[in-house]
């Protein structure tokens, strides 16, 4: 089930925008492909990110992937819970497993992201490659 109220990037991040601040995490599809998350290298609060720039990294027992910024802005908070319990990314990717919050510098960029239906199609076609 892909949550309807979120926007999605083609790097498998989701973002929930509330006012000028967006909460970012990785999708259920991404966490499943990663396997058990063992460590999240959280972004530094205050970091300025451009859309598509690498924000932080996630490690599992068999992989290490980058998490990017789906939109431009400044990191205002990172999820400190993930330091002690990185498995939250697996168990609750859209909830307690959120990774960071970003203050949007160009809110118009949200329109270039996919909605739930488009992301579903994106995953379906990606599977064919």
């Amino acid at each position: 089930m892909i949550p309807e109220d979120l926007s999605y990037s083609d790097q498998n991040e989701w973002i929930r925008a509330e006012g000028n601040v967006g909460t970012v995490g990785i999708t259920d599809h991404a966490q499943d492909a990663l396997g058990d998350v063992t460590f999240v290298e959280l972004p530094v609060t205050g970091a300025e990110l451009a859309k598509g720039q690498e924000a932080c990294a996630i490690e599992s027992t068999k992989a290490a992937v980058s998490v990017y910024a789906p939109v431009s802005g400044k990191v205002v908070e990172a999820n400190a819970e993930l330091e002690d319990d990185p498995g939250l990314v697996n168990s609750s990717p859209y909830g307690d497993g959120w990774i960071y919050k970003i203050e949007l510098s160009a809110p118009a960029e949200l329109t270039s992201l996919m909605d739930a239906a488009q992301y579903g199609d994106f995953l379906a076609t990606e599977g064919e490659h």
């Binding site: 063992t38 460590f39 290298e41 490690e59 599992s60 027992t61 068999k62 992989a63 290490a64």
Partner: protein
């Protein structure tokens, strides 16, 4: 045919199963014009011929030299039990322990080795080995750059010149500012180091005992570099840690070293053993393999390679290092060596080496014209003497008497033309040392 089991009849059965007429056919994908003709390599020898040929080559090396050579690589005694243990084929013919269920021997040994190194250096975590002490210094530099995000590294002149050459070779095109600070009377010049430490300094690298054999307390250097947010890297000689204050108690953030003295034969340059240990908080930036303890589904304790996300097979171009094969069997040797000597044995060994060095120093200084360089510094088992003439001339004369008297420093320090670096281990007897002193006197005065 050595090491090939299949008979002609079996090869024919196998070709039939494959559906090929001949083994040649299996190479058909290689265009004929790319296949080479007969190699200009001699025909195969029998095992007996191989042994005879290689024994003859071994005889062309000067065996039996009474050696006072050091420079980071020492002639320590290797107990027979060590070789017996390490020559068990389950250890030396084993692959990397990626399948933990059938590699618990290797993995537990790595965990115990990591633990032994931490106990020795008083650090919090260690890896399963790097290639040697020189690449370990380089890897420590890369680790410090990753941790701090800075681009400047300060390396003291008293760090092995061989390692400094290696570091320069590796880093010359990486956009790193590598600064070497001069020594002051055999130890790092505090003022010179302080001058170089700034907000872009990732690390200061020192060695203890240093290349001249001088012992230092680098706690003040740790404070200097920590004040500006940088790290202290200390390269150590593990046998010395039987007696000397370990780098972990002097504020070191990363400790490296050459583990050859822990049960590796000198073997003309390798294989050796790169040690690396650090504070726990830096472990995810550490290169190399690391073993960890965990449990299986039934709660039984076992060991695995862990934190593999740092490594090349997962992170590829973003890995902490490209290291894959390291020095696994040498790490096992080091663990066995430290265990055979044990807690008291290592203390005693360091003391024996220091006492013998003291004796030799006394005998050498009694030779007319010979003085001590850096005599006001403390030494363990290695020191520098000043000769009244060029050291490499003296060396040649002493070779003729079956003595490798030490290392002429002019090789790496052009202004130290008359200086000889002399090392003493527990293997040198009183007779050896008396003979060196006597022979030196004959060469210098005769």
């Amino acid at each position: 045919m050595p090491f090939i089991a299949n008979t002609k009849a079996q090869r024919e059965q196998m070709l039939a199963a494959i559906g090929s007429e001949s083994v040649e056919e299996l190479f058909a994908d290689i265009p004929p014009d790319l296949q080479c003709g007969e190699l200009n390599v001699p025909r195969g020898l029998t095992e007996q011929e191989v042994r005879t040929r290689i024994a003859a080559l071994a005889d062309r090396n000067s065996g039996g030299l009474v050696s006072f050579l050091g420079g980071g690589f020492y002639d320590h005694f290797i107990p027979a039990a060590l070789d017996a243990i390490v020559s068990r084929s389950e250890f030396y013919t084993a692959y990397t322990p990626y399948q933990p269920e059938i590699s618990q021997g290797t993995l537990q040994a790595i965990y115990e080795y990591q633990s032994a190194i931490c106990r020795l250096t008083d650090m919090e975590v260690a890896n399963a080995s790097l290639y040697d002490g020189g690449t370990a210094v380089y890897e420590a530099i890369m680790m410090a750059l990753r941790i701090t995000g800075r681009r400047k590294v300060v390396v003291d002149e008293t760090v092995s010149p061989i390692y400094r050459k290696m570091v320069r070779s590796y880093t010359s095109n990486l956009g790193i500012a590598l600064v070497e600070t001069p020594a002051a009377e055999g130890l790092p010049d505090r003022d010179a180091v302080a001058e170089q430490i700034d907000g872009d300094t990732a690390a200061v690298i020192v060695q203890n005992p240093n290349f001249f054999g001088c012992i230092d307390d680098v706690t003040d250097l740790a404070e200097l570099v920590h004040q500006r947010g940088g790290l202290l890297v200390v390269s150590c000689y593990p046998i010395s840690l039987g007696l000397l204050k370990p780098p972990g108690q002097m504020g070191a953030d990363i400790v490296v070293g050459e583990g050859q003295s822990l049960g590796m034969p000198l073997s003309f340059g390798g294989p050796y053993l790169g040690l690396m240990a650090s504070r726990l908080k830096y472990v995810r930036k550490m290169p190399g393999r690391i073993a960890g303890r965990t449990v299986d589904a039934r709660g039984r304790k076992g060991f695995v390679l862990t934190l593999q996300a740092r490594e090349q097979h997962i992170r590829r171009e973003r890995a902490t290092s490209n290291i894959c094969t390291n020095e696994g069997l040498c790490a096992l040797r080091a663990l066995v060596y430290l265990s055979l000597l044990g807690k008291e044995g290592l203390v005693e060994l360091a003391r024996i080496c220091a006492a013998k060095a003291d004796y030799l120093r006394g005998r050498l200084l009694a030779v007319p014209g010979v003085t001590m360089r850096f005599g006001h510094r403390s030494h363990l088992n290695e020191f520098v003497v000043n000769l009244p003439m060029a050291a490499d001339k003296v060396i040649r004369g002493l070779f003729g008497r079956g003595l490798a008297a030490g290392f002429p420093l002019v090789r790496y320090f052009p202004e130290m033309n008359n200086c000889l670096l002399v090392a003493v281990t527990e293997q040198r007897t009183k007779e050896d040392m008396d003979f060196l002193a006597h022979s030196l006197e004959v060469i210098l005065c005769g």
